[in-house]
Amino acid sequence: MSLTRDQVRAIAFLARIRVRDDELDPLAKDISGILHWVEQLNEVKTEGVEPMTSVAALTLPMRADVVNDGGIRDAVLRNAPEPMDGFYTVPKVME
């Protein structure tokens, strides 16, 4: 699979990473090269093979559905870029 400039632009938007126009061609080349390389997996017969989602042969544990943390607003906000009145802030999203 070789990616076009437009495809790279679309993926970059999905990933929310700004990409300059002059970066599109080199990225398309790099990513296409890597995709060609990983496509050798098509040689492997995998019919009926259960996909492996985790190596941990564990049943995920259950725990009580209770509040076990909280009341640490200031600690949580301490690393926020522009906190205000105990909240995170973002650019205006509604007119």
Binding site: I11, V44, V55, V90
Partner: protein, 492 residues
């Protein structure tokens, strides 16, 4: 005080118990060594003040007869991927510069509780994505081997700062994390021991996530016994990580003293690659005789899907990374680059905050997970991963451990292999299969290349059988008698 930075963890523990020296003296010697070796760029943050406080507390415990075990008062370094309460944690990325976690990772909390004294946070590839420690936003780390030869070498990656710090005598042990080889490959490049435990042995809670189904923390030390001592202090069940194994930990270090006699050693024929340097092939064959001489049986095994491990990894790891790194959006912590709209702020922040390799992997991961391509790439990779894991299960029906090289080359120069991502990815050709299968694997320094650089050999074991890995690793250590150290930085 020079001798104090040459000790093993076991020797330091014995010396502290006998009061040959104090934990404060031990910490001071390492703080001085760290300061004298800043040319290596091994540390992002030095924590001398905290180290002296912790060392003084260790001394008080020792005097009161309440020492907490082998790590009490021992200077260690922490890869800057572990969140440390009140101490900047960056993952080597610009996007986390200035981030000071309000909490402590489970592994570092365990180490603190055991009395370990942290001298600082070590440099790494950005978000642990790299094999040469050249993608860090804080600059590359230099390998203490070859320093001053006019040609600076990479320490390997991603735990390159940790490996360099241990090799240069800046700490007695360091934490690393290994997703596709990030403990073992730098250990090989720097001539130290690096142990990636079984997936689930060490809690991932509080470790900046790269690829959650692969990430595993482990010790980097100068001896196999020390790796066992440090693993015992790091490991254990943690309810805060749902993939943490609810299993008791054995006395890992004791396994280093057990003779290897009777072990069955597997040599995977598919690891004998075309174009592998003759000296690495020769060292690997020499190690077969070391095991035979120690009463082991050496047999050939087959891991038929080996050649598909790297491409599988380079679908799964970027896919998981693209998901994990979605959290860096400029809203709650880390870098924020303003934009007119929320989307624009996200895009500006992530473009400026992430380096080229991280951006590339996020884009690949986003693509292979996107509608229409998921089955062709991600699902296929998960199926091949199952076959790779099955290969190991079959091989471990015949043998107790698998012996292989750790890396296909010794350390290379900073600046090499930077133009071709796939050439860089090939560094992990021998380490990635065990990662995909979640198995414990250890790199042990076994010899020197013709150019005088360290070469490691790797022992891979059954899930949750670190003891046999350590036992076999100790056999390599005894036979190799690898005691060459890089000329120590900052000393003449």
């Amino acid at each position: 005080m020079t001798g104090l930075t040459d000790l093993t963890i076991a020797e330091a523990a014995a010396g502290l118990a006998k009061r040959d020296f104090s934990a404060v003296e031990l910490a001071q010697a390492h703080i001085a060594a760290v300061a004298a070796a800043r040319a290596l760029n091994a540390f992002i943050v030095e924590t001398a003040e905290g180290a002296l406080v912790a060392a003084s507390e260790a001394d008080s415990r020792c005097l009161a007869g309440r020492a907490r075990g082998a790590l009490d008062g021992v200077p260690v370094a922490i890869k800057d991927l572990f969140c440390t309460e009140g101490v900047q944690t960056t993952a080597g990325s610009r996007i986390l510069k200035g981030f000071v976690p309000p909490y402590e990772s489970t592994v570092t909390a365990n180490l603190k509780r055991a009395g370990a004294v942290s001298v600082g946070k070590t440099n790494l590839d950005e978000f642990a994505m790299g094999s040469a420690n050249i993608t860090s936003a804080f600059g590359p780390v230099k390998n203490p081997w070859g320093l001053g030869s006019g040609r600076d070498l990479v320490p390997g990656g991603s735990s390159g700062g940790s490996a360099a710090a241990v090799a240069a005598g800046l700490c007695l042990g360091a934490t690393g994390t290994d997703t596709g080889g990030s403990i073992r490959q730098p250990a090989s490049f720097c001539g130290i021991v690096g142990l990636k435990p079984t997936y689930g042995r060490c809690s991932r809670w509080g470790i900046v996530a790269f690829a959650s189904s692969l990430d595993q923390a482990g010790p980097m030390t100068r001896t196999v016994q020390d790796a066992g001592l440090m693993l015992s202090a790091m490991a254990g069940h943690d309810p805060k990580d749902s993939t943490s194994a609810p299993m008791a930990c054995p006395d890992f270090a004791a396994a280093a003293a057990q003779p290897a006699r009777g072990l069955r050693i597997g040599i995977p024929k598919e690891y004998r690659l075309d174009g592998m340097p003759a000296e690495i092939d020769a060292l690997w064959r020499t190690a077969e005789t070391w095991f035979r001489d120690q009463g082991c049986e050496v047999v050939e095994v087959s891991l038929p899907h080996t050649q598909y491990a790297l491409p599988t990894y380079y679908i799964i790891a970027p896919a998981e990374a693209s998901s994990n790194l979605a959290r860096y959006d400029g809203v709650r912590y880390g870098l924020r680059v303003p934009g007119e709209t929320l989307d624009e702020m996200y895009r500006n922040t992530r473009a400026e905050g992430f380096g080229a390799e991280v951006r590339r992997r996020i884009l690949i991961g986003t693509y292979v997970l996107s509608a229409g391509y998921y089955d062709a790439y991600y699902l296929k990779a998960q199926q091949v991963r199952a076959l790779i894991a099955r290969d190991f299960t079959d091989a471990f029906g015949q043998v107790d451990v698998i012996l292989a090289p750790t890396a296909p080359s010794p350390a290379f120069a900073i600046g090499e292999k930077m133009d071709d991502p796939i050439a860089m990815y090939l560094n992990d050709v021998f380490t990635v299969p065990a990662s995909l299968a979640g198995l414990p694997a250890m790199s042990v320094p076994a010899g020197l290349s013709a150019g005088g650089l360290p070469l490691g050999l790797q022992v891979i074991g059954r899930a949750f059988d670190e003891e046999t890995v350590i036992r076999a690793g100790a056999a390599i250590e005894r036979a190799a008698a690898f005691d060459t150290r890089p000329s120590r930085v900052g000393r003449r």
